[in-house]
């Protein structure tokens, strides 16, 4: 059936009217959704341009001798609902302890190893300047915040574990099963994670937003963990790093870690 010119024009006109009408109806449907809603950073939030942490390993050793019971790990893992899984291959950790030779495998100096034989090294995500985990994440679940924190949006993580392969520090853990079974008590103010999601330390972004220091920093009775803004010359971390000798883990890789270990 051939279409007549007249009919064709009529149809075109109708289509136009229809499109306009549906656009108007669409506007009606979404009306009331657009409102004057505003978002802001809370005024009490701690503000920084480059958050960093300095860890005084000697003080840490002192604390452990006095029996601090590794408060930093305990408090962090409680507040963030990090489960304790006995199986080493499937464990989840945000902050953990290791020996010098594992933390700094590139430091082959025998004497250094001897000096630090019994010194505990608290390890956590280094919140790298140039984080390889962010580069490989296909969903932008892991991304870099303006204040230097390497942030995770757990909602977006698809569990591909590229980030775990990319991180040279083993800072990331994968949830092989529902972690809730391994939580003895929970912090009702913070979520857990679910099976198939990667997690790591987020520098307590949720506490910074409330004007509080990271949980581990606050928990350490020896004040062995110091937190602050590297971009601010007068911050405690900047001052310490100007005066004392600090190591960063595998800095030669160019990741630019923001966690420093005082070794003098």
């Amino acid at each position: 059936m051939a279409i007549k010119r007249r009919d064709f024009l009529k149809l075109t006109g109708l289509t136009l009217v229809g499109t306009a009408a549906s656009a108007a109806v669409g506007d009606l449907l979404t009306r009331g959704e657009v409102k004057a809603q505003e978002y802001a950073t809370p005024p009490e939030a701690l503000k920084g341009k480059r958050w960093a942490m300095v860890i005084d390993v000697k003080k840490c050793k002192e604390g452990q001798k006095k029996g601090c019971g590794k408060k930093c790990i305990e408090v962090c893992h409680y507040l963030h609902n990090v489960p304790s899984i006995p199986d080493k291959k499937k464990e989840i950790k945000w902050i953990w302890e290791d020996e010098f030779e594992h933390a700094f495998p590139e430091q082959t100096d025998e004497y250094l190893e001897e000096i630090f034989k019994d010194v505990p090294f608290m390890l956590l995500c280094n919140q790298c300047d140039n984080p390889p985990c962010v580069r490989v994440c296909p969903t932008k679940a892991t991304f870099k915040r303006e204040d230097g924190i390497v942030m995770m949006d757990f909602h977006r993580c698809i569990g591909c574990r590229f980030c775990m392969a990319a991180c040279p520090y083993g800072s990331r853990s994968f949830n092989w099963f529902d972690p809730r079974k391994y939580l003895k008590k929970v912090n009702p103010e913070y979520p857990t994670r679910t099976k198939g999601v990667v997690e790591k330390c987020l520098f307590c972004y949720e506490r910074l937003a409330q004007g509080k220091l990271p949980a581990c920093v606050e928990a350490c009775p020896e004040k062995a963990l110091i937190f602050g803004d590297l971009a601010d010359e007068n911050s405690e971390v900047s001052k310490i790093l100007k005066e004392r000798v600090a190591l960063r883990r595998k800095a030669e890789l160019g990741t630019g870690p923001a966690v420093f270990y005082l070794i003098d």
Partner: protein, 128 residues
């Protein structure tokens, strides 16, 4: 139309068949879910109508702003400020997910996965 005397009744039968749930529940009020509302607090973050229709969008925006843009403070249309947090703000008034969220979600057979990670208040209580 060919076979109109067969096709049309069949179409009618089909329509009736697919709308059976509607006819069965016609005028039955108890079928409408009744989520339990907070007793102390009368006003939600936004108006009731808005929350009913768009709470999922609001929550999604909250997530994006808080997690991705570090903006943890929400100023509602009436000027009131709220901390962006499902567990620390929403569930402080709606103290029971089963009696609130689930009521409608089950009714419309939608199962959002919020609670795979976020801890419902009643679940947290049982845990301790």
């Amino acid at each position: 139309m060919y076979n109109a005397e067969k096709v049309i009744p069949f179409i009618i039968i089909l329509i009736i068949f697919f709308t059976i749930p509607m006819w069965l529940n016609f005028g039955r009020l108890e079928a409408i879910p009744q989520p339990e509302l907070p007793k102390e607090e009368k006003k939600c973050v936004e108006s009731k109508e808005y929350m009913r229709a768009y709470h999922m969008k609001l929550l999604d925006n909250w997530r994006k702003k808080a997690i991705r843009e570090n903006q943890h403070l929400y100023t509602a249309s009436n000027g009131k400020n709220y901390t962006i947090s499902l567990q620390r703000t929403c569930m402080k008034c709606h103290t029971n997910k089963e009696k609130f969220c689930d009521k409608c979600h089950n009714f419309v057979i939608t199962h959002p996965d919020c609670w795979d990670c976020h801890i419902a208040p009643e679940v947290a209580k049982k845990w301790q």
